[in-house]
Protein backbone atom coordinates (compact mmCIF):
# COMPACT_ATOMS: atom_id res chain seq x y z
CA UNK A 1 0.00 0.00 0.00
CA UNK A 2 2.93 2.31 0.80
CA UNK A 3 4.38 1.73 -2.67
CA UNK A 4 1.04 2.55 -4.21
CA UNK A 5 0.80 5.78 -2.21
CA UNK A 6 4.26 6.78 -3.44
CA UNK A 7 3.07 6.29 -7.03
CA UNK A 8 0.05 8.48 -6.36
CA UNK A 9 2.33 11.12 -4.83
CA UNK A 10 4.57 11.03 -7.91
CA UNK A 11 1.62 11.52 -10.19
CA UNK A 12 0.35 14.29 -7.92
CA UNK A 13 3.74 15.96 -8.20
CA UNK A 14 3.56 15.70 -12.01
CA UNK A 15 0.08 17.18 -11.86
CA UNK A 16 1.36 20.20 -9.90
CA UNK A 17 4.30 20.61 -12.28
CA UNK A 18 1.93 20.67 -15.23
CA UNK A 19 -0.12 23.39 -13.56
CA UNK A 20 3.02 25.42 -12.84
CA UNK A 21 4.32 24.94 -16.37
CA UNK A 22 1.11 26.43 -17.74
CA UNK A 23 2.39 29.95 -17.18
CA UNK A 24 5.57 29.22 -19.19
CA UNK A 25 3.99 28.25 -22.51
CA UNK A 26 1.65 30.35 -24.57
CA UNK A 27 0.78 29.13 -28.03
CA UNK A 28 -1.11 31.83 -29.90
CA UNK A 29 -4.44 31.14 -31.57
CA UNK A 30 -2.94 31.31 -35.05
CA UNK A 31 -0.35 28.67 -34.04
CA UNK A 32 -2.95 26.14 -32.90
CA UNK A 33 -3.66 24.56 -36.27
CA UNK A 34 -1.91 21.32 -35.21
CA UNK A 35 -3.23 21.03 -31.66
CA UNK A 36 -6.76 21.76 -32.94
CA UNK A 37 -6.59 18.81 -35.33
CA UNK A 38 -9.36 16.30 -34.51
CA UNK A 39 -6.78 13.55 -33.94
CA UNK A 40 -5.15 15.66 -31.23
CA UNK A 41 -8.20 15.83 -28.98
CA UNK A 42 -7.41 14.92 -25.39
CA UNK A 43 -10.72 13.33 -24.49
CA UNK A 44 -11.64 9.76 -25.37
CA UNK A 45 -13.32 9.43 -28.77
CA UNK A 46 -17.01 8.66 -28.94
CA UNK A 47 -16.55 5.42 -30.85
CA UNK A 48 -14.22 4.13 -28.08
CA UNK A 49 -17.12 3.96 -25.62
CA UNK A 50 -17.96 0.31 -26.20
CA UNK A 51 -14.33 -0.73 -25.75
CA UNK A 52 -14.16 1.33 -22.57
CA UNK A 53 -17.37 -0.34 -21.36
CA UNK A 54 -16.08 -3.88 -21.72
CA UNK A 55 -12.76 -2.91 -20.13
CA UNK A 56 -14.67 -1.49 -17.13
CA UNK A 57 -16.57 -4.80 -16.87
CA UNK A 58 -13.61 -7.15 -17.33
CA UNK A 59 -10.97 -5.26 -15.35
CA UNK A 60 -10.82 -4.35 -11.68
CA UNK A 61 -9.53 -0.86 -12.47
CA UNK A 62 -11.70 1.88 -13.93
CA UNK A 63 -11.90 5.65 -14.16
CA UNK A 64 -9.59 8.46 -15.29
CA UNK A 65 -10.32 7.72 -18.93
CA UNK A 66 -13.61 9.41 -19.70
CA UNK A 67 -15.66 6.28 -19.03
CA UNK A 68 -18.09 5.73 -16.21
CA UNK A 69 -16.52 5.37 -12.79
CA UNK A 70 -19.61 3.98 -11.13
CA UNK A 71 -23.08 2.80 -11.90
CA UNK A 72 -24.05 -0.44 -13.61
CA UNK A 73 -23.26 -3.92 -12.37
CA UNK A 74 -21.04 -5.23 -15.16
CA UNK A 75 -21.75 -8.67 -13.81
CA UNK A 76 -21.83 -10.82 -16.96
Amino acid sequence: MRLRLINVKKLGFLFCMLILSSSCVVVKEYEKVYVNDTEMQLSAKGEERFETNFQIYREAASGANGGRSGGGCGCN
Binding site: A61, N65, G72, C73
Partner: protein, 427 residues
Protein backbone atom coordinates in the same frame (compact mmCIF):
# COMPACT_ATOMS: atom_id res chain seq x y z
CA UNK B 1 -21.46 68.49 -55.49
CA UNK B 2 -21.70 69.30 -51.79
CA UNK B 3 -24.97 67.31 -51.59
CA UNK B 4 -23.36 64.39 -53.35
CA UNK B 5 -20.35 64.53 -51.04
CA UNK B 6 -22.66 64.76 -48.00
CA UNK B 7 -24.74 61.76 -49.16
CA UNK B 8 -21.57 59.79 -49.85
CA UNK B 9 -20.25 60.51 -46.35
CA UNK B 10 -23.61 59.60 -44.79
CA UNK B 11 -23.80 56.32 -46.76
CA UNK B 12 -20.23 55.43 -45.84
CA UNK B 13 -21.12 56.18 -42.24
CA UNK B 14 -24.19 53.93 -42.31
CA UNK B 15 -22.24 51.19 -44.07
CA UNK B 16 -19.51 51.44 -41.47
CA UNK B 17 -22.08 51.40 -38.66
CA UNK B 18 -23.82 48.38 -40.22
CA UNK B 19 -20.54 46.54 -40.54
CA UNK B 20 -19.64 47.32 -36.97
CA UNK B 21 -23.01 46.17 -35.75
CA UNK B 22 -22.79 42.94 -37.74
CA UNK B 23 -19.36 42.20 -36.34
CA UNK B 24 -20.41 42.78 -32.77
CA UNK B 25 -23.60 40.71 -33.03
CA UNK B 26 -21.98 37.76 -34.77
CA UNK B 27 -21.06 34.99 -32.39
CA UNK B 28 -19.68 31.65 -33.45
CA UNK B 29 -21.93 28.91 -32.18
CA UNK B 30 -20.52 26.21 -29.93
CA UNK B 31 -22.16 23.70 -32.27
CA UNK B 32 -23.04 24.96 -35.73
CA UNK B 33 -25.78 22.44 -36.54
CA UNK B 34 -27.43 19.34 -35.11
CA UNK B 35 -25.42 16.15 -35.22
CA UNK B 36 -26.48 12.53 -34.91
CA UNK B 37 -24.13 9.65 -34.10
CA UNK B 38 -25.28 6.11 -34.83
CA UNK B 39 -23.09 3.59 -33.04
CA UNK B 40 -23.12 -0.18 -33.14
CA UNK B 41 -20.86 -2.75 -31.54
CA UNK B 42 -20.57 -6.51 -31.39
CA UNK B 43 -18.58 -8.09 -28.55
CA UNK B 44 -17.71 -11.74 -28.03
CA UNK B 45 -15.65 -13.45 -25.36
CA UNK B 46 -14.46 -16.95 -24.44
CA UNK B 47 -12.87 -18.20 -21.25
CA UNK B 48 -12.89 -21.00 -18.69
CA UNK B 49 -13.07 -19.14 -15.38
CA UNK B 50 -16.73 -18.21 -15.03
CA UNK B 51 -17.45 -16.46 -11.75
CA UNK B 52 -21.02 -17.81 -11.77
CA UNK B 53 -19.63 -21.34 -11.38
CA UNK B 54 -16.98 -20.46 -8.81
CA UNK B 55 -14.04 -19.78 -11.12
CA UNK B 56 -14.41 -22.83 -13.35
CA UNK B 57 -16.75 -22.92 -16.32
CA UNK B 58 -17.48 -21.28 -19.61
CA UNK B 59 -17.38 -17.49 -19.85
CA UNK B 60 -18.80 -17.43 -23.38
CA UNK B 61 -20.70 -14.19 -23.94
CA UNK B 62 -21.91 -12.19 -26.92
CA UNK B 63 -23.25 -8.68 -26.75
CA UNK B 64 -24.74 -6.54 -29.52
CA UNK B 65 -25.15 -2.89 -28.57
CA UNK B 66 -26.41 0.14 -30.41
CA UNK B 67 -26.73 3.78 -29.44
CA UNK B 68 -28.05 6.97 -30.92
CA UNK B 69 -26.46 10.21 -29.76
CA UNK B 70 -28.16 13.45 -30.79
CA UNK B 71 -26.49 16.82 -30.21
CA UNK B 72 -28.76 19.84 -30.56
CA UNK B 73 -27.55 23.46 -30.49
CA UNK B 74 -30.23 25.26 -28.47
CA UNK B 75 -28.65 28.69 -29.08
CA UNK B 76 -25.11 29.95 -29.72
CA UNK B 77 -24.01 28.99 -26.19
CA UNK B 78 -25.97 25.87 -25.22
CA UNK B 79 -25.95 22.30 -26.44
CA UNK B 80 -28.30 19.52 -25.44
CA UNK B 81 -27.12 15.94 -25.96
CA UNK B 82 -29.33 12.89 -25.69
CA UNK B 83 -27.78 9.44 -25.73
CA UNK B 84 -30.10 6.43 -25.90
CA UNK B 85 -29.00 2.85 -26.33
CA UNK B 86 -29.81 -0.80 -25.97
CA UNK B 87 -27.49 -3.72 -25.43
CA UNK B 88 -28.67 -7.31 -25.91
CA UNK B 89 -26.45 -10.05 -24.57
CA UNK B 90 -26.41 -13.83 -24.48
CA UNK B 91 -24.27 -15.20 -21.71
CA UNK B 92 -23.37 -18.84 -21.06
CA UNK B 93 -22.08 -17.64 -17.73
CA UNK B 94 -25.31 -16.07 -16.47
CA UNK B 95 -27.31 -18.94 -17.94
CA UNK B 96 -25.70 -21.05 -15.24
CA UNK B 97 -27.37 -19.08 -12.47
CA UNK B 98 -29.86 -21.85 -13.10
CA UNK B 99 -28.05 -24.63 -14.99
CA UNK B 100 -31.02 -26.98 -14.52
CA UNK B 101 -33.61 -25.19 -16.64
CA UNK B 102 -32.28 -26.28 -20.02
CA UNK B 103 -32.49 -29.50 -22.01
CA UNK B 104 -33.24 -32.27 -19.45
CA UNK B 105 -31.60 -34.93 -21.64
CA UNK B 106 -28.18 -33.19 -21.46
CA UNK B 107 -25.73 -33.59 -18.57
CA UNK B 108 -25.43 -30.45 -16.44
CA UNK B 109 -21.94 -28.95 -16.66
CA UNK B 110 -20.31 -25.57 -15.89
CA UNK B 111 -18.64 -25.80 -19.31
CA UNK B 112 -21.88 -25.76 -21.23
CA UNK B 113 -24.58 -23.11 -21.35
CA UNK B 114 -28.07 -23.75 -20.12
CA UNK B 115 -30.71 -22.82 -22.67
CA UNK B 116 -32.98 -21.43 -19.95
CA UNK B 117 -34.40 -17.94 -19.51
CA UNK B 118 -31.40 -16.45 -17.69
CA UNK B 119 -29.11 -16.90 -20.70
CA UNK B 120 -30.04 -13.57 -22.30
CA UNK B 121 -31.07 -10.10 -21.24
CA UNK B 122 -31.18 -6.50 -22.43
CA UNK B 123 -29.64 -3.39 -20.94
CA UNK B 124 -31.29 -0.09 -21.85
CA UNK B 125 -29.73 3.29 -21.09
CA UNK B 126 -30.79 6.93 -21.38
CA UNK B 127 -28.19 9.63 -20.85
CA UNK B 128 -29.20 13.28 -21.41
CA UNK B 129 -26.73 16.11 -20.82
CA UNK B 130 -26.76 19.87 -21.11
CA UNK B 131 -23.75 22.12 -21.68
CA UNK B 132 -23.54 25.89 -21.39
CA UNK B 133 -20.53 27.91 -22.57
CA UNK B 134 -19.78 31.48 -21.58
CA UNK B 135 -19.75 34.08 -24.40
CA UNK B 136 -15.93 34.17 -24.40
CA UNK B 137 -15.87 30.31 -24.39
CA UNK B 138 -13.54 30.28 -21.39
CA UNK B 139 -16.05 28.71 -19.03
CA UNK B 140 -18.25 25.68 -19.58
CA UNK B 141 -20.87 24.27 -17.24
CA UNK B 142 -22.51 20.92 -17.77
CA UNK B 143 -25.12 18.76 -16.10
CA UNK B 144 -26.04 15.20 -16.96
CA UNK B 145 -28.17 12.27 -15.90
CA UNK B 146 -27.91 8.52 -16.45
CA UNK B 147 -30.60 5.87 -16.27
CA UNK B 148 -29.94 2.22 -17.07
CA UNK B 149 -32.03 -0.85 -16.52
CA UNK B 150 -31.66 -4.60 -16.93
CA UNK B 151 -33.49 -7.52 -15.39
CA UNK B 152 -31.59 -7.67 -12.11
CA UNK B 153 -30.12 -4.17 -11.93
CA UNK B 154 -31.27 -0.55 -12.09
CA UNK B 155 -28.94 2.44 -12.14
CA UNK B 156 -29.75 6.12 -11.71
CA UNK B 157 -27.03 8.75 -11.92
CA UNK B 158 -26.68 12.52 -11.90
CA UNK B 159 -23.63 14.65 -12.44
CA UNK B 160 -22.26 18.07 -13.17
CA UNK B 161 -19.02 19.78 -14.03
CA UNK B 162 -17.21 23.04 -14.64
CA UNK B 163 -14.35 23.78 -17.04
CA UNK B 164 -12.26 26.91 -17.02
CA UNK B 165 -9.85 27.81 -19.82
CA UNK B 166 -7.17 30.44 -19.28
CA UNK B 167 -3.66 31.41 -20.37
CA UNK B 168 -5.05 32.28 -23.84
CA UNK B 169 -6.86 28.95 -23.86
CA UNK B 170 -3.56 27.09 -23.47
CA UNK B 171 -4.60 25.70 -20.10
CA UNK B 172 -7.89 24.11 -19.11
CA UNK B 173 -9.00 23.05 -15.64
CA UNK B 174 -12.02 20.81 -15.13
CA UNK B 175 -13.84 19.68 -12.04
CA UNK B 176 -16.78 17.29 -12.18
CA UNK B 177 -18.76 15.03 -9.90
CA UNK B 178 -21.14 12.13 -10.36
CA UNK B 179 -23.53 10.28 -8.10
CA UNK B 180 -25.01 6.88 -8.93
CA UNK B 181 -27.82 5.26 -7.00
CA UNK B 182 -28.12 1.63 -8.08
CA UNK B 183 -30.49 -1.10 -7.01
CA UNK B 184 -30.14 -4.85 -7.30
CA UNK B 185 -32.91 -7.33 -7.87
CA UNK B 186 -30.73 -10.16 -6.53
CA UNK B 187 -30.75 -13.45 -8.42
CA UNK B 188 -29.16 -16.22 -6.36
CA UNK B 189 -27.90 -19.56 -7.72
CA UNK B 190 -30.87 -21.90 -8.08
CA UNK B 191 -29.61 -24.40 -5.48
CA UNK B 192 -29.42 -21.67 -2.81
CA UNK B 193 -33.00 -20.53 -3.25
CA UNK B 194 -35.64 -21.51 -0.69
CA UNK B 195 -37.42 -24.76 -1.49
CA UNK B 196 -34.80 -26.14 -3.86
CA UNK B 197 -34.87 -29.91 -4.27
CA UNK B 198 -33.37 -32.22 -6.89
CA UNK B 199 -33.06 -36.00 -6.56
CA UNK B 200 -29.93 -36.10 -8.74
CA UNK B 201 -27.67 -34.54 -6.06
CA UNK B 202 -24.61 -36.65 -5.37
CA UNK B 203 -22.05 -36.22 -2.58
CA UNK B 204 -21.20 -37.24 0.96
CA UNK B 205 -24.14 -36.59 3.35
CA UNK B 206 -26.85 -34.00 2.82
CA UNK B 207 -26.42 -30.81 0.82
CA UNK B 208 -27.13 -28.08 3.41
CA UNK B 209 -25.21 -24.88 2.60
CA UNK B 210 -25.10 -22.23 5.32
CA UNK B 211 -26.34 -19.48 3.03
CA UNK B 212 -28.04 -16.20 3.89
CA UNK B 213 -29.34 -13.63 1.46
CA UNK B 214 -27.89 -10.10 1.39
CA UNK B 215 -29.53 -7.50 3.62
CA UNK B 216 -28.63 -4.53 1.44
CA UNK B 217 -29.72 -4.36 -2.18
CA UNK B 218 -28.48 -0.85 -2.99
CA UNK B 219 -25.15 0.20 -4.42
CA UNK B 220 -24.16 3.87 -4.36
CA UNK B 221 -21.17 5.41 -6.14
CA UNK B 222 -19.76 8.90 -5.63
CA UNK B 223 -17.01 10.20 -7.87
CA UNK B 224 -15.10 13.44 -8.07
CA UNK B 225 -12.85 14.14 -11.07
CA UNK B 226 -10.17 16.75 -11.53
CA UNK B 227 -8.41 17.34 -14.85
CA UNK B 228 -5.91 19.77 -16.27
CA UNK B 229 -4.95 19.97 -19.91
CA UNK B 230 -2.10 22.02 -21.27
CA UNK B 231 -0.80 22.95 -24.70
CA UNK B 232 2.92 22.32 -24.36
CA UNK B 233 4.01 23.46 -27.82
CA UNK B 234 2.46 24.06 -31.24
CA UNK B 235 2.48 20.29 -31.82
CA UNK B 236 2.29 18.82 -28.33
CA UNK B 237 -0.44 18.81 -25.73
CA UNK B 238 -1.21 16.73 -22.67
CA UNK B 239 -3.57 16.30 -19.80
CA UNK B 240 -3.57 14.74 -16.35
CA UNK B 241 -6.73 13.63 -14.63
CA UNK B 242 -7.59 12.07 -11.33
CA UNK B 243 -10.76 10.52 -9.99
CA UNK B 244 -11.67 9.80 -6.40
CA UNK B 245 -14.42 7.19 -6.22
CA UNK B 246 -16.26 5.83 -3.22
CA UNK B 247 -18.73 2.97 -3.56
CA UNK B 248 -20.85 1.46 -0.84
CA UNK B 249 -23.71 -0.97 -0.48
CA UNK B 250 -24.00 -4.36 -2.15
CA UNK B 251 -20.72 -4.66 -4.07
CA UNK B 252 -20.90 -8.46 -4.36
CA UNK B 253 -22.63 -10.08 -7.32
CA UNK B 254 -25.36 -12.26 -5.80
CA UNK B 255 -25.18 -15.10 -8.35
CA UNK B 256 -21.42 -15.70 -8.31
CA UNK B 257 -20.74 -19.03 -6.58
CA UNK B 258 -17.90 -19.81 -4.19
CA UNK B 259 -16.65 -23.30 -3.24
CA UNK B 260 -14.86 -23.69 0.11
CA UNK B 261 -11.93 -26.05 0.64
CA UNK B 262 -13.19 -27.02 4.12
CA UNK B 263 -16.67 -28.16 3.05
CA UNK B 264 -17.91 -31.29 1.29
CA UNK B 265 -18.62 -31.17 -2.43
CA UNK B 266 -22.02 -31.89 -3.96
CA UNK B 267 -22.89 -32.26 -7.63
CA UNK B 268 -25.71 -32.60 -10.09
CA UNK B 269 -24.06 -34.43 -12.98
CA UNK B 270 -20.81 -32.46 -13.48
CA UNK B 271 -22.09 -29.23 -11.98
CA UNK B 272 -20.85 -28.52 -8.44
CA UNK B 273 -23.42 -26.96 -6.14
CA UNK B 274 -22.52 -23.72 -4.39
CA UNK B 275 -21.22 -23.51 -0.83
CA UNK B 276 -21.99 -19.80 -0.85
CA UNK B 277 -21.98 -16.76 -3.12
CA UNK B 278 -19.17 -14.23 -3.18
CA UNK B 279 -18.98 -11.93 -0.17
CA UNK B 280 -17.14 -8.64 -0.62
CA UNK B 281 -16.85 -5.61 1.69
CA UNK B 282 -19.67 -3.11 1.51
CA UNK B 283 -17.39 -0.21 0.63
CA UNK B 284 -14.60 0.41 -1.85
CA UNK B 285 -12.40 3.46 -2.30
CA UNK B 286 -10.69 3.88 -5.69
CA UNK B 287 -8.09 6.35 -6.94
CA UNK B 288 -7.28 6.24 -10.66
CA UNK B 289 -4.80 8.80 -12.01
CA UNK B 290 -4.34 9.07 -15.76
CA UNK B 291 -2.45 11.11 -18.31
CA UNK B 292 -2.64 11.68 -22.04
CA UNK B 293 0.07 13.08 -24.28
CA UNK B 294 -0.61 13.73 -27.96
CA UNK B 295 2.02 14.73 -30.50
CA UNK B 296 1.42 15.93 -34.05
CA UNK B 297 4.43 14.29 -35.69
CA UNK B 298 3.68 15.56 -39.19
CA UNK B 299 0.76 16.00 -41.57
CA UNK B 300 0.43 12.22 -41.89
CA UNK B 301 1.09 10.78 -38.42
CA UNK B 302 -0.20 11.72 -34.96
CA UNK B 303 0.86 9.94 -31.75
CA UNK B 304 -1.81 9.51 -29.06
CA UNK B 305 -0.59 8.03 -25.79
CA UNK B 306 -2.33 7.25 -22.52
CA UNK B 307 -1.18 6.00 -19.13
CA UNK B 308 -3.15 5.25 -15.98
CA UNK B 309 -2.24 4.13 -12.51
CA UNK B 310 -5.01 2.76 -10.30
CA UNK B 311 -5.18 1.73 -6.69
CA UNK B 312 -8.01 0.81 -4.33
CA UNK B 313 -8.51 -0.38 -0.76
CA UNK B 314 -9.32 -3.94 -1.88
CA UNK B 315 -5.65 -4.43 -2.64
CA UNK B 316 -5.85 -3.96 -6.40
CA UNK B 317 -3.14 -1.97 -8.17
CA UNK B 318 -3.28 -1.65 -11.93
CA UNK B 319 -1.35 -0.08 -14.76
CA UNK B 320 -2.70 0.79 -18.18
CA UNK B 321 -0.69 2.11 -21.13
CA UNK B 322 -1.88 2.58 -24.68
CA UNK B 323 -0.68 4.08 -27.92
CA UNK B 324 -2.76 4.90 -30.97
CA UNK B 325 -1.11 6.17 -34.14
CA UNK B 326 -3.59 7.80 -36.53
CA UNK B 327 -2.16 7.73 -40.07
CA UNK B 328 -3.85 10.10 -42.51
CA UNK B 329 -4.24 8.62 -45.96
CA UNK B 330 -5.31 11.67 -47.96
CA UNK B 331 -8.07 14.08 -47.00
CA UNK B 332 -10.79 11.49 -46.45
CA UNK B 333 -9.27 8.38 -44.88
CA UNK B 334 -7.43 7.82 -41.61
CA UNK B 335 -6.01 4.48 -40.50
CA UNK B 336 -5.73 3.71 -36.75
CA UNK B 337 -3.39 1.02 -35.46
CA UNK B 338 -3.55 0.80 -31.65
CA UNK B 339 -2.10 -1.20 -28.77
CA UNK B 340 -3.09 -1.27 -25.10
CA UNK B 341 -1.44 -3.00 -22.16
CA UNK B 342 -3.16 -3.62 -18.84
CA UNK B 343 -1.91 -5.34 -15.70
CA UNK B 344 -3.39 -5.71 -12.24
CA UNK B 345 -2.61 -7.34 -8.90
CA UNK B 346 -5.24 -9.54 -7.30
CA UNK B 347 -7.79 -8.29 -4.82
CA UNK B 348 -7.25 -9.32 -1.20
CA UNK B 349 -10.48 -11.31 -1.33
CA UNK B 350 -9.81 -13.34 -4.48
CA UNK B 351 -9.46 -17.12 -4.17
CA UNK B 352 -9.40 -19.76 -6.88
CA UNK B 353 -11.89 -22.60 -6.83
CA UNK B 354 -11.83 -24.53 -3.50
CA UNK B 355 -9.22 -22.18 -2.00
CA UNK B 356 -11.37 -20.01 0.26
CA UNK B 357 -12.29 -21.14 3.76
CA UNK B 358 -15.78 -20.90 5.17
CA UNK B 359 -14.29 -19.01 8.12
CA UNK B 360 -13.13 -16.12 5.93
CA UNK B 361 -15.13 -12.89 6.11
CA UNK B 362 -14.77 -12.02 2.43
CA UNK B 363 -14.18 -14.17 -0.65
CA UNK B 364 -14.72 -14.20 -4.39
CA UNK B 365 -13.70 -16.49 -7.25
CA UNK B 366 -14.30 -13.83 -9.90
CA UNK B 367 -11.19 -13.86 -12.09
CA UNK B 368 -11.83 -10.21 -12.97
CA UNK B 369 -10.36 -9.64 -9.47
CA UNK B 370 -7.39 -11.99 -9.97
CA UNK B 371 -3.83 -11.11 -10.93
CA UNK B 372 -3.35 -10.96 -14.70
CA UNK B 373 -2.05 -8.96 -17.63
CA UNK B 374 -3.93 -8.18 -20.83
CA UNK B 375 -2.94 -7.11 -24.32
CA UNK B 376 -5.33 -5.42 -26.70
CA UNK B 377 -4.52 -5.00 -30.39
CA UNK B 378 -6.71 -2.84 -32.57
CA UNK B 379 -7.09 -1.34 -36.01
CA UNK B 380 -9.55 1.20 -37.26
CA UNK B 381 -10.39 3.19 -40.32
CA UNK B 382 -12.26 6.46 -40.65
CA UNK B 383 -13.82 8.04 -43.69
CA UNK B 384 -14.50 11.73 -43.36
CA UNK B 385 -16.47 13.85 -45.81
CA UNK B 386 -16.23 17.55 -44.98
CA UNK B 387 -18.75 18.37 -47.73
CA UNK B 388 -21.30 15.81 -46.43
CA UNK B 389 -22.22 14.71 -49.96
CA UNK B 390 -23.81 11.41 -48.92
CA UNK B 391 -27.37 12.15 -47.82
CA UNK B 392 -29.84 10.43 -45.55
CA UNK B 393 -33.10 12.37 -45.37
CA UNK B 394 -32.16 15.86 -44.10
CA UNK B 395 -28.76 14.72 -42.83
CA UNK B 396 -25.39 14.56 -44.53
CA UNK B 397 -22.77 11.94 -43.66
CA UNK B 398 -19.85 13.62 -41.92
CA UNK B 399 -17.79 10.63 -40.79
CA UNK B 400 -17.80 6.84 -40.76
CA UNK B 401 -15.58 4.81 -38.41
CA UNK B 402 -14.90 1.11 -38.12
CA UNK B 403 -12.78 -0.30 -35.28
CA UNK B 404 -11.74 -3.89 -34.57
CA UNK B 405 -9.95 -4.99 -31.41
CA UNK B 406 -8.70 -8.27 -30.01
CA UNK B 407 -8.17 -8.68 -26.27
CA UNK B 408 -6.06 -11.44 -24.70
CA UNK B 409 -5.83 -11.95 -20.97
CA UNK B 410 -3.13 -14.04 -19.30
CA UNK B 411 -5.76 -16.13 -17.44
CA UNK B 412 -7.08 -17.42 -20.78
CA UNK B 413 -9.96 -15.02 -21.38
CA UNK B 414 -10.07 -13.80 -24.97
CA UNK B 415 -12.41 -11.22 -26.45
CA UNK B 416 -13.15 -9.52 -29.74
CA UNK B 417 -15.01 -6.27 -30.34
CA UNK B 418 -16.14 -4.57 -33.52
CA UNK B 419 -17.47 -1.02 -33.47
CA UNK B 420 -19.14 0.85 -36.29
CA UNK B 421 -19.88 4.55 -35.90
CA UNK B 422 -21.40 7.14 -38.18
CA UNK B 423 -21.84 10.87 -37.70
CA UNK B 424 -24.49 12.82 -39.59
CA UNK B 425 -25.04 16.57 -39.58
CA UNK B 426 -28.31 18.36 -40.26
CA UNK B 427 -28.61 20.89 -43.08
Amino acid sequence: MKKTTFLFIVLIGFWGFAQEKDTSSYKKRVLESSEVDLLFSYYGQEGDHAAVSGGEGTERLTDAASSIVVRLPLNPNDVLTVDVGISAYTSASSSNVNPLDGDQTQDVSPFSASSGASRSDQLIHFNPSFEHSSPDRNKIWNANAYIASEYDYFSLGVGGGYTYAFNEKNTELSLSGKLYFDKWNPQYPIELRAGFFDNRISGSGNYMPSFTTFDKENRNSYSLSLAISQILSAKLQGSIFMDVVLQNGLLSTPFQRVYFSDMDDFFIDDFQLADDVERLPDSRFKIPVGARLNYYLNDVVVLRSYYRFYTDDWGVSAYTASLEVPVKLGDSFTFYPAYRFYGQTKADYFYGKEEALSTHDFYSSDYDLSKYTAHQYGVGVQYKDIFTKTRLFMFGLKALQLRLSKYDRSDGLGAFIMTLGTTFVAD
